[in-house]
Amino acid sequence: MTHRHERTLRVGSLARVEGEGAMHVRIDQHGRVAQARLEIYEPPRFFEAFLRGRAYTEAPDITARVCGICPVAYQMSACLAMEDACGVTVGGQLAELRRLLYCGEWIESHALHVHLLHAPDFLGYASGIDMARDHRREVERGLEIKKIGNALMALVGGRAIHPVNVRVGGFHRVPSRSELARFAPELRRALELALEAVIWVAGFTFPEAESKHRLVAVEQGERYPVDGGTRVVTDAGYGFCVNHFEEYVYERHVPHSTALYAELADGSTYLTGPLARYSLHSAKLSQHAAAAARAAGLGAECRNPFQSIIVRAVETVYAIEEALRIIEAYEPPERPWVPVPPRAGRGYGVTEAPRGLLYHRYDIDAEGIITQARMVPPTAQNQAAIEAELCELVEARRDLADAELTDLCERAIRNHDPCISCSAHFLDLHVERS
């Protein structure tokens, strides 16, 4: 309130995000935001240590355990990195199957976030459960889309959580054409539901906001980036090969977070995830997804983080269309995997997890034993930008009462669907004012 000089907003446990996190905002006596912290406790650093001394073939299964929401992202980045280290490229239908599996993860993750975690913010509910009482149809739609995404993951990956069918070089088993064809009607049903969801979220009221951070996403040729790529591109007009990632992206420790802060080499903060993917690659969307984006009022770019819910809904349409395309063209490969004999070297892999770019780098010895591992998850990359957005948000609305401001800050964090298991869960927001 204006009669106070200093305030602290603190949310000790963030709701409707994945993992463990808290938020702390302090407003000084001049009304400026003196500090905005998204506090994160991040397990993946332990995984990097677990990986040392393990066989290169184990990385996809071990790294899948980093996160129950985006295990495919970890598996795919790990596979690409190991294959890169061994000088093998997996192409053809095996690569298409990987993309199909990844589409399943996008569908289930985005459907959950759009319908149960993010939509309550726009409709004035404290939770998806509260929202379900008045919006049962929409919640059921979200669950149905998510179920289809999970089923796709189980079909290709062996199971929906921590898929077991992925291996370096491809899969342990590939589905038959008829197995995939039988799933197409489910996907067509999901497509209808996903298009409905785009129109639904496009009707929400969005606070005015514009992200000024750099945008960073994987580039995957002429395709909307999902399951890999050899380059990373930015909205600053430059890009770099994945093996130069660590020359362009620096990570540093900060006292309040077990996640590492990432920033670009020029010191600028950046965002990865739906806003970045869409703004850098919207021209590559599929027919229905592009039409849905236009119908929802999106231009070629989207920089309002609150509208990320529209982008996720559009990306859900894209992932379903893409899955249908892959299934229609599918011819089972001769072998479920290609041989990837080990050799000493370093390999890099980047893919687009639902929340953004996921980078892996491994060193292996001649026997294929992992000697070094590094993973840079999307939420860690977004953390500095999220904190900066909190500062801007609070400064622009500092006359709001603590409860309103706290609510808005939590929404600002959920805009980015942070995966705190990969990098922070509940937000306990405290505003300090004096």
């Binding site: 406790y41 129950g68 998806g128 459960i129 379900a132 009482r133 077990t258 298991s421």
Partner: protein, 199 residues
């Protein structure tokens, strides 16, 4: 609650977080028992990470669902202690000392490990609104000691796995018997009280 589908046992947890893996471990033990034909043949066994919508999908339509999860230890309970209750009690579970033990297991730092901050309680509340509760829902919590990253259960929790699986097998057997016709009952009764469970 008019669901009449096969019973399901759902092990919730992450076996890379030590005792959080007790749910999947119990399901693994039940799979071993199923291979010995000592579970009712239509029993479904599943593991999941605890994400509420997945839980709901797994238990909807079941005439009996048993959810096994790890629980954070409270002063009243030591590691390996088992708490069981039925969903009818769920509305007021936070007022019940036994049920409070079923608060989700902590991850590193404060707060629950369940994804998106929603544990079984949220899944039950959402399922109730959407009419997706099973006919009977039993929650079994095993109090854990160590939820740090890494494989393997602590000794007291590992010791509880077989006991919990045995109790669940008996509960499934009782439920199955009550659902069988007379003819089915005769064909199944030979395995209804499996002696190996006593070993």
């Amino acid at each position: 609650m008019s669901a009449a589908g096969p019973p399901v046992v759902i092990g919730v947890g992450e076996d890379f977080r030590h005792d959080d893996g007790v749910g999947p471990a119990v399901v693994a033990e039940l799979r071993r028992l199923a291979a010995l034909d000592v579970l009712p043949p239509d029993t479904r066994l599943a593991v999941c990470f605890g994400e509420p919508t997945e839980l709901i999908e797994l238990w909807r339509d079941a005439r009996l669902a048993i959810v096994v999860d790890a629980a954070a230890a409270e002063a009243d309970f030591t590691a390996g202690h088992v708490v069981r209750w039925e969903v009818e009690d769920a509305d007021d579970h936070h007022d019940r000392p036994a049920a409070r033990a079923l608060d989700p297991a902590p991850t590193i730092g404060p707060g629950p490990a369940a994804t998106h901050g929603l544990g079984p309680g949220a899944a039950i509340a959402l399922a109730r609104i959407l009419d997706r509760l099973p006919a009977r829902l039993v929650l079994v919590a095993v109090v854990g000691a160590d939820f740090s990253p890494g494989p393997g259960l602590s000794e007291p929790v590992a010791a509880a796995v077989r006991r919990v699986a045995r109790d669940i097998a008996r509960e499934l057997g009782r439920e199955s018997l009550s659902a069988l016709s007379d003819g089915d009952l005769l064909s199944w009764s030979a395995n209804a009280v499996p002696p190996m469970l006593e070993a």
